[in-house]
């Protein structure tokens, strides 16, 4: 019957009325994706006629008697209604693009990894990162794309290393909930925890990400949920969806690293320091050392002068040359390049009556700023589902990642700050390219005199020329990862279903570092193992290169059986519940070896004798073992869980949730009963805006919710018994296998628990244009594993036990604005969190201050990772020495200050972790154009800025630029707080200054994260086949716009060099 009416609706206009009146036709599409919308209602108000769009999105309206003007309106669920004044009279063709409704709707489904539920009925604290948010950025790294996009997350990038292949930043959700165990949130991809490297996830595969933050939301994940959970749902096809194809590509260009942002002493100051120390005899030992450690060029000049080989004028002349050098110029010119990243992704999806499919292919290529460092990644994902009968669904998820990286060998690194001279930082006046235009020699392991004396005795060149090493073979890694899932879902009674989910994953990495015969590493080792006497020469390492192989393998599986019910009982009661059991296992294994005499292209190697010591080059010693690097390892983690989760709703406005779960894992040496950890949570929600008494023109939706419960954290690698570990390498001295003690008996060892209480309000106002969520939470992390300091007479200085407790509380705020005025639009996003965590308990801590205690920042009753310092009085007038306090008295008894300052006389500044992380993004739209910019900031925390440490300066050549502003003569103490040069270095004085109040700064800062401009349009060109096109340009990492500290020190990258600015250009096309 219905079909019949539809037929009539479509057919009638063509047949009966086609000759009379005016025809209005066109296509309705999704403005974002350009996908045709079926079933949208198109109507002309005055003419009082309407039509539904067909599967191709087309509509056709025939107006018999036309009014001069009318209003065309289009409505469809999930989209903003649209009305437009039109003038009638002739046939018109209207292409209409519908904007999707604001995504923060209660109809949105959230995926907890165990079930999907309506956001409306959720009692927990859940945030959603939509595809639109993910698509704003462009890089291949998931965490970069979601940084700041949910409130309560704190990203820590202080581990950024500009030389290597970038590391994943650290992420905590709602403050730390563990001291020693993992603090990174659990990552779930398509039902199961993701094992392996986050590098292997292609963000373009992702449909959306649900973040579970409180107990009601996350306790379903039990002992893995203490740090929050990120549930990633990948793209899937929909039933009866026509084939859609999306193609995207982008190119990201970066600047070379800003080496000059590093605050180091000038070459002139460095030479001044060396001259001074030389006169004091500081280098005498090194000069006389029979093993000839390398001396710097300045020391050589000073020596030559001392031995009357050159006169003072000549020495000064040479110093003059050196003073004007800065090796960073050489690095920028000869070593670093501009990084280039490119990404291409292809997605194809659709569905029929019984099947759905989605296929995504992604290719990422990264050329990092070091010439050899590069990464390529190919990702493929195929998700499909099949419904052979109405009640049964079978779906499979297949994901494959192939990743290769190449980089410099770890024993042959040539980046700035990687190339060390005898373990010290490179002197600033070094050069990589010499005056004659050749690649300069750097004496980093042996002195020039050693090389000059001995090079002729050995058969290999013994000099290290950094630039020669740039073209070496390096270290290559390749990784294949496959994740396959099979899911069955059967609805055997209406609303009641059994589902079985399974997943299998396997990742194999092979890495090989090849040191060819000509590389410095190989030449040096070959020469070291050459024994030379008057009559004989003995090579103990074969000719050819050296090959190190490292293989690692990860494999695991998960199996879950679940019974769930989702039913309405009568009109008023809704019930949603699940019950299930799960087993999961993850294994990691690795093996490594080294072969000598390898010619990489010819499969040749030679055996060497690792079992006996070999004679080495006589000046360097007597005998040594040939390094072998053989090692094996294997770890297994097993988990068994029983879980349940219930949600009851009354009148679609009162909701109650309950979840109970019991987990066990294979913690070593623990009684069976202690292996289990029962966890539970309860929650309630009240949708006030549905109450009859709620009448407001301002507020459209208002919901209150509260939850309480437990989640956990576990580290099964910490045993509870006296446990030995077979050390993965052989004893250095005897080459015998040996054991170490990893833990002493600790029968009380148990799981860490996190108790969370959460209250929140969600509301939308001003015609749903503004959506606000505020959460307040209190979090108590109990039985935390901590390192309890014990009497070293026990043979260990610290013992891991459940000894600590953290108390956190905070606010999460999320505001989204979505305003449209005609052709103008504005999207505003604010995400902010505030977290304050107190270290409530920590067992057996020392009662007096030591520098270790200050650095460890574990002060009971104070904030977790509180930044503390020693009181500062200034510099002395006569010698520029720093002055602290003993009690009320200014003092320079540094040892006393460092050892005996009572805890209550320390200066407690506050958290060294940002209490607030904030993201503010604005996108302005006009017609097809949009411009967006993002600010990110971190607030309410402190950091210790770097300064000069004379001990580090003299012994490790790490001199801070503050050296230039040091106290030099009486009177300076009024203008500077940087202590005078002192020799011999009083390590206590340096220690005091390094920990003093004067170096502490507020870390608050605001960054301009990006500016982005895009042109997006829907195109309906049948020849081209394109549905929509988006072109965008984006500039990222645009630097600090504000710092609380007056010196404008970047608190995140103060001890290194930060990421450089990048420019991105991209194109996305949908078919």
């Amino acid at each position: 019957m219905r079909t019949f009416i539809l037929c009539i609706l479509f057919v009638l206009p063509y047949t009966v009325f086609s000759q009379e009146g005016v025809v209005f036709s066109g296509t309705i599409r999704d403005a974002e994706t350009g996908i045709a919308i079926q079933g949208a209602v198109v109507s002309l108000r005055k003419s009082n006629i309407s039509a539904l769009t067909n599967p191709e999105g087309r509509y056709r309206l025939l107006i018999k008697r036309s009014n001069a003007n009318d209003t065309l309106s289009v409505r469809n669920i999930g989209y903003e209604p649209l009305s437009q004044r039109v003038s009638l009279g002739i046939d018109r063709h209207f292409e209409i693009n519908l904007e999707r409704k604001n995504t923060i709707l209660e109809e949105v489904e959230i995926n907890t990894g165990y079930q999907t539920q309506k956001r409306r009925s959720s009692t927990g604290s859940v945030e959603l990162i939509s595809k639109e948010d993910l698509d704003y950025g462009a890089g291949a790294n998931l965490l970069d794309r979601i940084e700041g996009l949910f409130s309560g997350g704190t990203f820590d990038r202080t581990n950024y290393n500009f030389n290597g292949i970038p590391q994943q930043p650290d992420l905590t959700v709602r403050g730390a909930s563990s001291l020693m165990a993992e603090t990174f949130p659990l990552i779930v991809v398509d039902n199961f925890p993701f094992e392996g490297s986050l590098d292997d996830i292609n963000p373009d595969d992702i449909e959306n990400i649900t973040i579970l933050k409180d107990a009601a939301a996350s306790s379903i994940w039990g002992v893995k949920a203490g740090n929050g959970v990120l549930v990633i749902t990948t793209k899937k096809g929909k039933l009866n969806q026509p084939l859609t194809i999306d193609v995207g590509t982008n190119l990201i260009l970066g600047a070379k690293p800003d080496l000059f942002s590093e605050q180091i002493v000038s070459a002139a100051d460095f030479i001044e320091m060396e001259t001074f120390l030389f006169d004091k005899g500081f280098y005498t030992n090194q000069i006389n050392d029979s093993r000839k450690p390398p001396l710097s060029p300045v020391i050589h000049l000073l020596l030559q002068h001392e031995r009357n080989e050159i006169d003072r004028a000549e020495m000064e002349k040479q110093f003059g040359v050196l003073r004007n050098r800065d090796v960073r110029n050489d690095f920028l010119k000869h070593v670093y390049r501009n990084p280039v990243e490119s990404n291409t992704t292809f997605n194809m999806r659709g569905g029929g009556d019984k099947t759905t499919y989605s296929f995504t292919l992604g290719y990422n290529s990264n050329l990092y700023n070091m010439p050899m460092n590069a990464r390529k990644r190919l990702t493929a994902r195929y998700n499909q589902s099949y419904r052979p009968i109405d009640k049964l669904s079978i779906s499979t998820d297949l994901a494959y990642t192939y990743l290769t990286t190449s980089q410099y060998n770890s024993s042959n690194m040539i980046g700035y700050n990687q190339m060390l001279v005898n373990g010290k930082k490179l002197y600033p006046y070094a050069q990589l390219h010499d005056a004659l235009g050749g690649n300069a020699i750097l004496y980093k392991d042996y002195d020039k005199s050693f090389i000059d004396d001995n090079e002729s005795k050995v058969t290999r060149d013994w000099s290290f020329r950094p630039l020669d090493e740039m073209n070496n073979h390096g270290s290559k890694l390749q990784r294949d990862q496959i994740v396959a899932g099979l899911n069955l879902d059967y609805e055997f009674v209406q609303g009641v279903r059994v589902s079985i989910n399974s997943q299998f994953n396997r990742a194999i990495s092979e890495s090989s570092s090849y040191y060819e015969e000509e590389s410095y590493f190989t030449r040096n080792l070959f020469n070291r193992f050459t024994y030379v006497s008057d009559s004989e020469i003995e090579h103990n390492i074969p000719k050819g290169g050296i090959m190190d192989k490292d293989n690692t393998k990860l494999w695991g599986y998960a199996l879950r059986s679940q019974l769930s019910a989702n039913r309405m009982f009568g009109d008023r009661h809704s019930f949603d519940g699940l019950l299930g059991a799960e087993v999961r296992e993850v294994n990691n294994s690795g093996d490594q070896r080294r072969n000598y005499g390898v010619y990489e292209d010819r499969n040749i190697y030679e055996l060497v004798d690792f079992t006996a010591t070999k004679r080495i080059f006589p000046v360097l010693g007597n005998r040594a073992f040939i390094p072998n690097r053989i090692g094996f390892s294997r770890t297994s983690n097993r988990f068994v869980s029983f879980y349940s989760n219930f949600n009851y709703g009354l009148d679609e406005r009162y909701y109650l949730s309950l979840s109970v779960r019991n987990d066990a894992s294979n913690i070593f040496g623990v009684d069976m009963k202690n292996k289990w950890s029962p966890l539970w949570s309860v929650g309630g929600a009240w949708e006030v805006s549905r109450e009859p008494f709620f009448k407001s023109n301002l507020v459209d939706y208002f919901k209150l919710r509260a939850s309480f419960g437990y989640s956990g954290n576990v580290d099964s690698q910490i045993p509870a018994e006296l446990v030995l570990q077979r050390v993965s390498y052989l004893d250095f001295y005897t080459n015998l296998p040996f054991n170490s003690i990893v833990s002493l008996q600790n029968p009380e060892l148990s799981w860490e628990k996190v108790r969370t209480f959460n209250v929140a309000a969600d509301w939308r106002m001003l015609n749903n244009q503004l959506a606000v969520t505020i959460d307040y939470y209190r979090k108590k992390s109990m039985d935390l594993l901590g390192s309890a300091i014990v009497d070293p007479t026990l043979g260990v200085s610290a013992v891991t036990m459940n000894s600590a407790q953290l108390m956190g509380q905070g606010l999460d705020l999320s505001i989204s604005a979505n305003v449209r005025r005609g052709e103008w639009g504005w999207n505003g996003t604010l995400r902010a969190g505030y977290n304050k965590t107190i270290l409530d308990k920590y067992f057996a801590r020392p009662q007096t201050v030591t520098s270790n205690a200050i650095n460890a920042a574990d002060f009971v009753g104070k904030e977790h990772k509180v930044l503390t310092s020693l009181k500062w009085h200034g510099l002395t007038e006569d010698s520029g020495a720093p002055v602290g306090y003993i009690g009320e008295e200014p003092s320079t008894a540094y040892l006393d200050i460092l050892r005996n300052t009572p805890l209550d006389e320390l200066v407690y500044h506050g958290s060294s972790i940002p209490r607030t992380s904030l993201l503010l993004r604005n996108i302005l739209k006009y017609k097809s154009w949009e411009v967006g910019f993002t600010f990110s900031g971190q607030f309410f925390y402190f950091f210790r800025r770097n300064s000069i440490d004379y001990g580090q300066f003299f012994n490790r050549w790490e001199g801070h630029a503050d050296f230039a502003d040091r106290w030099q003569q009486p009177g300076d103490e009024k203008t500077t707080s940087i202590p005078a040069f002192n020799y011999p270095v009083d390590t206590n004085r340096e220690g005091f200054y390094g920990l003093s109040e004067i170096l502490v700064r507020r870390g608050d800062h605001l960054r301009l994260q990006d500016i982005r401009a895009a042109y997006r349009t829907a195109i309906n060109n049948r020849k081209m086949g394109a549905r929509n096109i988006e072109l965008f340009m984006m500039a990222s990492n645009l630097g600090l716009v504000w710092t609380k500290n007056a010196e404008r020190i970047d608190p995140v990258y103060d001890s290194g060099i930060g990421p450089s600015t990048t420019i991105t250009g991209g194109l996305k096309v949908g078919f």
């Binding site: 360097l620 030995l724 077979r726 050390v727 009083d986």
Partner: protein, 454 residues
């Protein structure tokens, strides 16, 4: 379909429930082991480089007069505590001087504690005995050396109630830690060594593992320090009965080599080393001319043990483990056994017996043409010859500090030591030397209940 799925559901649940216990017994890390086999325990004793054989406290050598630091080297030392203890000022030494010996003791105690629980197969009974003997030996060796530097010296015939060291006999965290008296400490370690000497085999299989001869050798050292000459002679004798070889320096050593003495040579009873940590290092220390001139010019040891640097300073290179750096050989050797027997004999007035051992040793240290047999006038002269030979043979072997104290106590000699730094002379009289002991590292006292020395 319906039935299949529902039964599949229940089958999984039942499977999960029933197999839980076994499933969760899987070791989280293959390299982990509970100490359940002799291999497990032997692995602990094989941790030579990190724990067992390089842990001996070096503070005695640091306090002694076999070396000096030139002023520049002293200034260049990174740690305030190292600079201060060089001048014998009261100051907490670096923590590692304490933790490393006690870590070795923990490992030894773990072996002793878990060994009885392991049922050794019939053919492994001797191995189990050897492991127990080794553990006892290592524990005693560490305690013996700690006593020299953290406790006032043993006075023969005295009460010796002065504070000794902490005698640990468990591997657990719950053991009460307190300092026993010096008397108790010696009783404890002698008991350990006596038992070890019965359990240990004549050949241990590896130079880093103690043998019966090593236990006798260590006992000879202990009784020498305690002034019990009869026992010292007896144990030196026993050690030499099992192992008496001396290297013939003329034919077996190339004195010009960078490190002329091969490790694990036939004189070594067991290979143990002092750990000099941040302080004692061959590159830093210089040998006083007084020591250097103590060697006759024809003594091969003079070339083999020392070299001259560009500044004409004397550098030590005669380490018996062929290592440079901060690890100084301190194990008992056959050479030392001859000297202990000689000293015991001389002190008991068997003067020519004593000189015979000294000459026998010297025969192996000179070229055949250069060797001249030494003769003595009286006991005092014989003792002087013995002391000079001990210094020559055992330089940088970790015995000098206890030797000086013994000479002061037994012979009432006027030994004294001097160090010059910063234009200031630091001097220790014989009385000062007897009184000088180190503070326990501050961190030890801070985090426990042990009584500080002063």
């Amino acid at each position: 379909m319906k039935k299949t799925l529902i039964s599949l559901f229940f089958v999984t649940i039942v499977f999960v429930v029933s197999s839980c216990n076994d499933y969760l017994d899987k070791k989280p890390d293959d390299s982990f082991a509970l100490p359940q086999t002799l291999d497990d325990l032997e692995g602990l004793l094989n941790s030579s480089d990190l724990t067992m054989n390089f842990a001996t406290v070096a503070l005695g050598e640091i306090a002694s007069d076999s070396y000096y630091l030139d002023e520049a080297a002293w200034r260049a030392m990174p740690n305030e505590s190292d600079r201060t203890i060089y001048t014998w000022q009261p100051y907490s030494p670096e923590l590692a001087h304490w933790t490393l010996p006690y870590q070795a003791i923990l490992y030894a105690n773990a072996v002793l504690e878990y060994l009885p629980g392991i049922a050794a197969a019939e053919n492994e009974v001797h191995r189990a005995e050897r492991l127990r003997g080794s553990a006892l030996f290592f524990r005693a060796h560490q305690l013996f050396n700690l006593l020299h530097v953290f406790s006032k010296p043993y006075l023969p015939g005295g009460e010796n109630a002065q504070m000794g060291v902490v005698l640990r006999s468990k591997a657990s965290l719950n053991e009460e830690l307190k300092r026993s008296s010096v008397e108790e400490s010696y009783d404890f370690l002698i008991r350990d060594l006596m038992e070890a000497s019965q359990l240990l085999p004549e050949a241990s299989g590896h130079a880093t593992q103690p043998s019966k001869a090593a236990a006798y050798g260590e006992l000879a050292r202990v009784f020498l320090v305690r002034g019990d000459m009869a026992s010292a002679k007896e144990y030196a004798d026993s050690a030499l009965f099992l192992q008496s070889d001396l290297m013939d320096y003329q034919n077996e050593i190339d004195p010009s080599a960078t490190l002329p003495i091969p490790r694990w040579n036939k004189e070594v009873l067991v290979d143990l080393s002092l750990n000099g940590h941040t302080f004692l290092n061959t590159t830093r220390i210089r040998v006083p001319l007084k020591e250097y001139n103590n060697y006759e010019s024809t003594d091969i040891r003079k070339q083999a043990f020392f070299t001259e640097n560009a500044n004409g300073e004397i550098i030590f290179k005669g380490n018996y483990n062929a290592r440079n750096g901060n690890r100084f050989f301190c194990g008992p050797t056959t050479g030392e056994m001859y000297l202990i027997r000689a000293e015991a004999n001389i002190r008991r007035n068997l003067l020519s017996d004593g000189l015979k051992d000294i000459n026998y040793l010297r025969q192996h240290r000179f070229r055949e043409d250069d060797f001249v047999s030494l003769d003595f006038d009286d006991k005092e002269h014989a003792l002087a010859i013995l002391k000079a030979e001990r210094r020559r043979e055992l330089i940088f072997r970790g015995v000098r500090w206890s030797d000086i104290k013994r000479y002061i106590i037994l012979d009432e000699t006027e030994e004294s030591m001097e160090r010059l730094i910063d234009g200031k002379v630091y001097k220790m009289t014989a009385e000062d030397i007897i009184d000088y002991i180190y503070k326990l590292p501050d961190a030890v006292v801070d985090s426990g209940n042990l009584i500080q020395n002063y």
